[in-house]
Assembly symmetry: C2
Homo-oligomer: 349 residues x 2
């Protein structure tokens, strides 16, 4: 049921990439003067298989799920907020709703299972359970739940691709999910939980210490059983984190570039890369968040995010904020004149 | 003739800023979760004098001038490129041309004086001289030229403001102008030229050393005479750098926020702030460039730029690339629901 996760990924088109690189070097600017935007245009060319890439159709899938571990007192907000925010997403009042409108992006909201279920028009409900189990005492998910959540991510990407998406953004909502993400990152990176536990939605110092104090015994409980990335995901993850990982794997298998958001999405990306390393070229990173563990996860993924603005909201918002940079990189790549076209002298020999 | 530079600047509207701050704290996100975009929306509210700011009309003025100091062999490109690039700007093939189209921004190109004059439709020509004098041997500008260049910047801002600009971006083009900017920054910041001389359009290590070796005696020649920021600008600056400084001062006097580009523009901003410190609140900073001296200048201005992408092109391009972030900050500020509107629970007490 999870076999698809290990299926081959598409390979970036080396000839489109080479053509884009050659074009960059002829544009009317000192070579390299557009910095990371040059590498970005070249990379998008390889991913889209054309020398002049474009990002016009953006699809955002927002995965929501609740977390049993909130019973341990690890969040500054009550768990009912997950469902309340789902209503806000579809009503258009959340940050990601506003950014999706600005980008003209498709926004799909997927409820994977809440502790306090809600029925909302415009939300795709899967009901995998009343949130995950509390991983402080038991595995977060059954094998079936974990497989269903991974598949939900894949299906969201398939709908986006069928709609013509040229870029996929996954977002997440789930009170307690920085705790699950910190647990996953600690286990996968073999780092102490205290290094990866941050403020989440706004814990104070005592709250962060409590979070780390919940994580340490949970990792001791599950660690010896985490013999594969899939089992680690099942024991320590969450519905929305598994769905994100599934969506990233499907991006790489279907050939749609993904723009990864902040800490939780980056941990899902780490899970995806550990499950199937060939997915990595398809993952672009939108921003470096203020959440304490994000830099360690980015470093493990050798990722250089585009923005560094102290964001820590989630919902896919940091990725959405970076989309104009991708669009501008493509516009510059396609729209600038070459030295020959503009009759501009190249540098002195 | 330069008296206007010292005239009072507008003050940001503290009550609009307070209203915007109160609104930010009610939006459906953890407080501070939008990081620097929250401060940006609040600051723009103060500058625009309304609780819900917007950046719809952007004006870009691109100032070009040549530099006598290129006789010392400080640039990787021949001086004819300044005029060739002017043609490229108006033909639409330069980076800033592409970005202006993307933003729907007004782009005005102002030729202040080139070594190899060009006549181009769509370029406003002022002809202050055949480029500046070589500041390795003489002051770069006469007092009259410096005053005319400052006034040219002010006039560009006045045209932009009359056209309804809600944000002003100054750009620059001038072979040799990183050398002039490094000289100005060295003198104003009392730093060794070697700390502030960078690769410009693409010097190798030997070229950077030659640049620093040209700067040291030039600063020795002029330093004792630099008894005011205006005299420093006259002796070590350039036509386009003076115009940028004039435009920033006029922004502050007329109440139009300026988004400052990279190294050369930031040095012009430093000149403006030294001439009239009250202009500082009106200066926002688009990016941290790859040019070696930029970080020192930003630090002196206590500036936190929005982007850090290794850009080193000039033309105003790094500022133009940051405009969508300002627009998104405004859209989030205006478009997000409050906790009360969305019936989302606030954090636990």
């Amino acid at each position: 049921m999870t076999d698809w996760c290990f299926a081959p990924c598409r390979e970036p088109d080396a000839s489109a990439e080479a053509a884009a690189r050659a074009r960059q070097d002829q544009l009317t600017k000192p070579r390299g003067a557009l910095g990371e935007l040059e590498a970005l245009a070249i990379r998008l060319a390889g991913l889209q298989g054309r020398a002049q890439p474009a990002i016009e159709q953006v699809a955002i899938a927002l995965f929501a799920g609740d977390h049993g571990v909130v019973a341990e007192g690890v969040s500054a907000y009550p768990q009912a907020v997950t469902g309340q925010m789902l209503a806000n997403f579809v009503a258009g009042g959340a940050a990601i709703s506003v950014l999706a409108r600005q980008l003209g992006a498709r926004l799909e909201v997927i409820d994977l299972g809440l502790a306090h279920p809600v029925q909302l028009a415009g939300v795709r409900s899967l009901d995998l359970g009343p949130g995950t189990a509390n991983f402080a005492v038991a595995p977060a998910m059954t094998a079936e739940q974990c497989a269903q959540a991974l598949a939900a991510g894949r299906e969201a990407l398939q709908r986006a691709a069928a709609d013509g998406a040229q870029l996929f953004i996954g977002g997440e909502m789930g009170i307690g999910n920085t705790t699950a993400a910190s647990a996953l990152a600690s286990q996968l990176l073999e780092r102490a939980p205290a290094d990866l536990a941050g403020r989440g939605t706004g814990l104070d110092d005592a709250g962060v210490q409590r979070k780390a104090a919940v994580l340490a015994p949970a990792l001791a409980l599950h660690g010896a059983h985490c013999h594969s990335p899939l089992e680690t995901l099942r024991r320590l993850g969450g519905f929305e984190i598994a769905a994100l990982a599934g969506s990233y794997l499907a991006c790489a298998q279907q050939g749609v570039p993904a723009l990864v958001d902040g800490f939780i999405c980056s941990v899902a990306a780490l899970v995806a890369v550990r499950l199937n390393p060939a997915c990595q070229p398809w993952l672009l990173f939108g921003h470096r968040s203020a959440e304490a563990g994000h830099s360690a996860v980015l470093a493990a993924l050798d990722a250089r995010p585009l923005l560094d603005l102290g964001l820590r909201l989630g919902e896919g918002s940091g990725a959405a904020l970076a989309v104009p940079l991708l669009q501008q990189a493509c516009a510059l790549h396609a729209g600038m004149a070459t030295f020959a076209e503009a009759a501009v002298s190249e540098r002195a020999p």
